[in-house]
Symmetry: D3
Subunit: 269 residues, 6 copies
């Protein structure tokens, strides 16, 4: 159950409108690695978590925080759209040469569909997808994914920082960068905690007995490219580099069911 | 540039057909964490990689191997469909009580669309999406994602192992489990290698100056749920647990452009 | 900003597992008219709302409640999956004839992907889409949509009520039916409130001057089918029924730019 | 069965080309609330309608008209693309400063994929989806949705009217605004007609017995946000405003099937 | 502009309900190669066609016919759902052993979402997509695609014929097979007509001067697999079989913009 | 099984960066008719092919070549992005008037998401979909589709040739045009080969007995539009032109299951 407070977790106020940047900012709202993704991913993992206690709390606490980030970015996007040029004509009449660039790179759905607001789509207008999130029931795999999500997210937010010099926008981004920093640390710490608690380990899932793997194939990197540097990596301390070899025959499929009207096998035509 | 050899990397031959399992096996072919994803993700990361040498080689070598796994699973799926029941009537006539379950859980597109073959869709028939892969240009974030992909993949393959007792299918799965094991190790080793080479570090991207983050927010986990166990985790050695506080005002958006025909602000009606 | 309490808004506990029903229940979680949709739709409308006060409060209060429904349904789906048959073989060995139906109609991603949990996809496994929600900035259009969403939702939940006789499941559904009832009333009341406040009216958007419409076409239903009953509806008190007439010439498009390599116009070949 | 006449229902001829507006106009062709949606939604509702007579006729008549609107907008989009700039170089050479904005905001698929024509995608190039339409079999819920669709559609078309000053384009838009006006009235009248005919009522579906709802929860709006204005709305005449209370325990999920390799419950590791 | 007649082009009446077949029949309604696709593809090609006369007429005539097929299949699907089992319990109670198979393979959205009707989704519930159709503005490419669509469609319909023995369903399928037969012939004839009229030819688009192709690469099939049979095909009369050779250097990408926080190039760390 | 060589099949090096063209070039990488599609389509058809020998070899050889084209276009797109303008401010400061157009038409995900690289999405940012490919098991239908894919692809590449005057980009395009030329010929030759080998014929699938079609409907084009030119086509030598006639009654659907809460049939309310 959730409760909402109308104050924002952090201020989301640009110094000046910039509809082109509003379009770009959609990426970290409704893109694959945006705030919608982390909010929903952590909450679903929390709801599906079969272990009561610290791990479940961490998931639900962080997922709930991410909802506040969704809200902040929505607010920022709405404010950035103020006074956005609606027609190519007003773009041309203005003396400001930047306006053509703004008009060209603004998101037309921001005005036609949303009336000046934000929506859960990415910077190219592709809708957010439930397929962006994973809650596998295996916390080790999921915490690694969560750390990854914070890394990809922080990379994108850092890039957006460089794409604007608006002080208000940058203030909000600096806050997001800090939170992504914490969340990277936290999920990596949670990975270590799972190991310390003996709940899982490498390779994930550790509970699947390694003896049941095919032991002939779990120690080597196989070099399927002609680059020559594979042996120079530190990974050779644990793994060897092998040449590719085929271990299965060229497949010959059985003739298909004639009721499927595939091309008949040789001699059947 | 690629060359194809018709022999398989490993044998893909079931002992008996099982159209229901063929439907489930699609998950690790065309699902979010399936072989299409890892093949394409590693190749795109390799093609976009701006560092010649060991990292690029590792990406291209592994991505190319994954194409061989796509091929193996396709072959297995086609063979598993042999003799699949096409009508509910033949299901009823058979003495075998399992046939109703097989008919009900087989993928109808396997016969109607593919004529007894595989396709790049998941176990529910949702098509594989280019959005499943990421090649961010930041190797640290991407290698973490690659390790994650191998974990999620190995979890799914281990589950599929438990969902069949066909010896031939299990042989192939044992091979895949072994390769996923190696690839987990390899990407985690590559993460360490990047650190050792001084190319990136935590938080990702390390090149973004931590001083430019908002320093008041990069040391605490904020407890947005009412669970009481957050302080019991090992993460408290590095991070503190804080209560949620609002740092921004409740947003009041500016009145919209009247040409957008939104609901007018108070006093404007 | 949001706060989470781990207690549920209402109990979500089935009397017995039923993996087939778990698959169906996904429709009102991650389907087009499910709880994900109403939660996100109301919140985005609230965040984008340019009128502080009662309307904004209503949107944010209700959207936040819907998050609690998402949580309840996730919990129910996870519990319904307990002991789900994983293999067609155990289905056959069981004496229970229902098991074949359960195996055939369960969602294989529930086990392969989610490890026994819920996810934001519909009853056929199609991921929830950000395109399911609309926040147009015009509250009249949006409140009508919200009332519609509660109607479609209540229809679906009523159907699901008839598809199970599990007492625990029905208890939760009875709660959802009651809340959908309230929300239908509330959004229809909000429509009237907007009119009473003089903020919008019919046709939506009322602010667009009806005089600028083409007045020759805004009074008639045009009968493009050969059914003969159109004149029997009460709508004829306000609108007339007309025959279809063409008011534009058959279009002849200009020849295309030759650099686009379309089929050339006559005489240009 | 359908018959096609090549004359248009209304003229679709711009006074001048404008490839940027052509891109925007796609929204009301292939967007969520565009003409493809209303055409297909009304036709599918008509085909699925189990009541012969006036309601079915209304659905089929209106759906068939909307196909004519699809055709008109396609024609307009094709004509608007005449002479679209294909290269950034010709954009630069022209003296016209508007050309950069046009080049930047034109839809590249209009030329690369369609060769100067229209397609069923929205203003950001996202393909139209069958998920945009609903034909629930419950006419009350569907007529409400249809009224909503005409509202959202008229809001979008009104916005597009403000985004161009081309007289020919505006003539077509004035026609569409008039038809959307009629269709709003018509579907709202059909809602009343259903009530007058005793076929359904509030809450939808009225046939589900209200006594089977949980009566403790169908009279109150629950205030899950901290806004203070909820009690000021007219909705309080029918509904009361309540505080949120939890009625279910914090869920503890059962341990998962070990064959799913989730994280084991406490004490099982 | 379109007109609708409520009589069907051909009868669509099963002898008995079969909800499992109803689910499968969705493939040729809302699947990639179903009736929605051919209807919309031919109509969009017709609307975008810049040549008035016989080609445009052929596109519009055939597209309009396909709408009648959409209507027929919708009708059939609704009728096939009569009496579909809604619960796993009624499945178990019935003496009919087929019912478990029917329950397991029916489409749950048919009842939960559509209330016993059809919708524009495929046999796995994936929504029809505007991306399924192409109207390229090049009639030669598009007529080839249209012939292909009729081939894929006829293959699927033939398969469905084998998946039922219901006389009424088979009657409708026999009609569809006949129409697909005609349409295959017609589009192939239209391809020849374009050549005879000198409007296009091979390779498509013929208007692009072959001299501007790279002449060193337009005469050979390059053998990128190790199969040995490539030389046995009739294609060798026109084309030669060559070995793969690289003609470009291994790419070394320029260092990225540091503001994008990619992994820095060697020596830049 | 595949092997990768790092040298490119053909050079992919622009003379100058052009981020706007990089965005457009995505169409033939990740669009519906791009290189991802032909690579995957031919490979899946090859893997599913039940005929060993020349046809299977042709599919696998060509599919593997197309992977090399994917790689080339990725490389070109990465190089075209060099020095792309990241902010609207640097666009404004530059003296170059083209920069506004470039900024407006560049793909923001190229920088925010990919860090200067390519990805499997189209020119509007829509992700590549597994639904773009078909491997039906019927080689005649599939070879026709393959020829079509090369036609649509060559049309798009020819258009892109006209949208740039960069010599390096045009060199790569000239290579692609040549290969598309060969592949068109090859698939059309393969169609003839199938006929010569007696494996299939017209109408596809020829194995379905024409006698089982409805013979009253397989000889005529039915004129569902009011255009008058249908009789002028060469198709009349084989087919006749008929008027549309209804052969089925206006459908009256049975009353629905009351548990589905649809609108009740007349007299049932």
């Amino acid at each position: 159950m959730f409760f909402h407070a109308q104050d924002l977790q952090f201020e989301a106020r640009p110094d000046a409108p910039d509809a082109a940047f509003a379009a770009r900012l959609q990426e970290v709202l409704g893109g694959k690695w945006g705030e919608m993704t982390v909010a929903m991913q952590y909450l679903y993992q929390g709801w599906n978590c079969r272990l009561p206690g610290k791990y479940k709390d961490l998931l639900l606490a962080t997922g709930t925080e991410e909802l506040a980030h969704v809200e902040m970015i929505c607010t920022m996007i709405a404010r950035l759209q103020e006074g956005a040029p609606l027609t190519v004509q007003e773009t041309a009449q203005a003396e400001n040469p930047m306006l053509a660039a703004v008009y060209g790179s603004a998101n037309p759905q921001h005005s036609i569909v949303n009336g000046g607001g934000a929506y859960p789509h990415d910077s190219q207008g592709v809708p957010w997808s439930g397929a962006y999130i994973t809650a596998s029931g295996n916390l080790m795999a999921d915490f690694h994914l969560n750390a990854t999500a914070e890394m990809q997210g922080r990379v994108q937010v850092a890039r957006l920082y460089e794409m604007t010099d608006d002080p208000g926008v940058r203030e909000m981004i600096k806050f997001l960068l800090a939170r992504d920093h914490v969340h990277q640390k936290q999920w990596l710490a949670a990975v270590e905690e799972l190991k310390a608690d003996g709940l899982d380990g490498m390779p994930v899932p550790e509970a699947f007995p390694v003896e049941q793997e095919n032991g002939a194939f779990n120690k080597q990197i196989i070099n399927f490219t002609d680059g020559s540097s594979l042996g120079e990596g530190g990974w050779t301390s644990e793994l060897e580099v092998d040449k590719p070899v085929a271990h299965g025959d060229a497949p010959v499929l059985p003739p298909g069911d004639p009721r499927l009207y595939g091309t008949p096998p040789p001699g059947k035509s």
